[in-house]
Symmetry: none
Amino acid sequence: MAIAKFKSTVSDMWRERILTGAAQVFAEKGFNKSTTKQIAAAAGVGEGTIYNYFKNKRELLYALLEEISSEPIKNIHVNNPQTEPAEFLKLIIEDRVQFIQSYGNLFSSIIAEVFVDPELREELYTKIFKPSYTLLEKYLENQIKLGTIRSVNPMIIGNGFIGAVLLNNLFMHLEQDQNTEKISQDEITEELITWFMSGLKIK
Amino acid sequence: MAIAKFKSTVSDMWRERILTGAAQVFAEKGFNKSTTKQIAAAAGVGEGTIYNYFKNKRELLYALLEEISSEPIKNIHVNNPQTEPAEFLKLIIEDRVQFIQSYGNLFSSIIAEVFVDPELREELYTKIFKPSYTLLEKYLENQIKLGTIRSVNPMIIGNGFIGAVLLNNLFMHLEQDQNTEKISQDEITEELITWFMSGLKIK
Amino acid sequence: MAIAKFKSTVSDMWRERILTGAAQVFAEKGFNKSTTKQIAAAAGVGEGTIYNYFKNKRELLYALLEEISSEPIKNIHVNNPQTEPAEFLKLIIEDRVQFIQSYGNLFSSIIAEVFVDPELREELYTKIFKPSYTLLEKYLENQIKLGTIRSVNPMIIGNGFIGAVLLNNLFMHLEQDQNTEKISQDEITEELITWFMSGLKIK
Amino acid sequence: MAIAKFKSTVSDMWRERILTGAAQVFAEKGFNKSTTKQIAAAAGVGEGTIYNYFKNKRELLYALLEEISSEPIKNIHVNNPQTEPAEFLKLIIEDRVQFIQSYGNLFSSIIAEVFVDPELREELYTKIFKPSYTLLEKYLENQIKLGTIRSVNPMIIGNGFIGAVLLNNLFMHLEQDQNTEKISQDEITEELITWFMSGLKIK
DNA sequence: TATGAATGAGATTTCATTCAT
DNA sequence: TATGAATGAAATCTCATTCAT
């Protein structure tokens, strides 16, 4: 067993190395334009080695999605069960923003394939989106019960909120519209939360 | 001139045919897995003919984006300048929803490449997103001036609203979560509008 | 018959036009990299028209060779039957030099194919080289009989002389060796003639 | 180091194999009509393997030129510095003749491209022609100094002599004029040397 | 008869995957 | 087990030629 453990640890090291290389190359060139040769080079392994750990190139994408989805929002939930609504949302936004920023283009390269690969889409939905707005859903249900907020369909609102955050950040991150003045991240967060909570209508 | 018209019409016919074929195949397999051979077959033309009308495969994508973006939201603006806020938003949502539904997977296949191709991204942003939320922006500015809604940053809210609509519909359209009960489009629209206008907080 | 004449004249005009276009493009790009589209454009005719006058692209090459071989050296022969040897050679050299210079890269593009296309080679040999050194041969035979020059194999010497002239001019024309000082055409001619007549050995 | 040697030997084996295949096919069909598929078949390798050793088809041509030009005339120079003029020239001619004969049509296929590809032309000139007549040049200069031959421009005469030899052999090798009696190689050599040294003029 | 658009065979090249070492 | 060279299927794109108008 010790041997098995050791073995698996060594094995994991290779796996990790390959994934790191793949992440780099995918982030830089996108999935389709990345070659296994480039990945091997970036990982510092032989090209054939990739296939000792992954069935094919696409599996690298699945594995990376798995990897980055391993521990997202959860701590918010655990650590902040009864936080003020505005505070809670801020945490969620900051978490997602940080998520996008930290994975940056790697995330983009995965998202791209999601639109085209149903299996990957299923994965993304289950591993990243669902937990994310499940958390939000639960929070919303809870707040509704507490009478803090009015009754809404948590799925729609959850999706909507995540969509609002994502589009603001994803496209801001891939910055267009150079003539437009840059808006600070804090301003975005603030605005979205206020809107989310209070709507636009006066009074 | 009649001749010229006729000529250009014939030429357009082929172009259109090719684009239709490309749209079909892109929608079914995504851009990268679509082959020019398949496109030619779907279009009912020779493979070489594609290159009489488009410089390369990628140009098909650009042309399709162009095509798609040719006549979006605008009529809403023109026809309904002073509509009730809720009504206005409903029109926008329905427009976008219809847009996504009518182009369906073709739109997805374009979006996918957007994450990877800066030129296409620029196009998408300029042709589809910007006009869409520019309209919203103007509307918001107008309403703010009228005192109907409170002062917000139109760009953030515009992006946010579009993001909320898109994610709800795009992912709904790519239906996951089969165990979840389907939510009707009307319900989604209603919920988003209410939220957008009134927020969640109980006053 | 008048009609036939007229017809053939018109027909010749098209033919000529096409050949002129082909000559331009071949000279610029070489045979293989020239496209029928480019040729048609240069000729100011439709692409299909080429095939009304020539069986295929390669026939253009044959026709051009025919064209440029139509009236070379001969007048030297006719006009200068009994010229002084040195004078005669000078005329030949000047003729060949002028030939290469006037057709320039077109000639090069034909020569290139000659190494690869036996039929064209046959043509070149028969139409350009043979007459050229046949003339020389005859002259040599004549001079030998007159006792002016010693007995030689006219074919070898003929080939040799043409080769000496060609290499000096062809490669000079495609100028290499920029650091080498340019040698004037006259100097080359002079040197070759003296060598040809008197050899190198000091008596 | 033994390993390194071995490795490089194996790699060289493949390279060599591909070049041999390319040489065969180029010689038979010429560069442009040769396909990579044919080359791969002739070399007994997969088509893709070619691209592990050469960037593209054209590089095969460059490599072959390189190969061909690796060990030309030089030994003449080294081994026969002070030979009799006639003897020296005979060695040069025989060397060039043997060169053309041994590479035959492969050489022709390279020459053909030389007229169209400046880079290749530069190479041919530098690697094959220049060394060849540089040697001749030096020899001539030397003999002039010794008073054996009269003063000439070595470049012109060098070019001329090589041209005379090449045309006689190249075209003889691509034999035309079947009705003409074949002339023996020795006869050609003899004739050219005599001419070169003594000229044509009597006394 | 001139035209130019349609055509598809075929060429080059890429690259994920295999496999002998 | 890691390796990296060999592989060939397959993809994009070109272009000489055909042919309906």
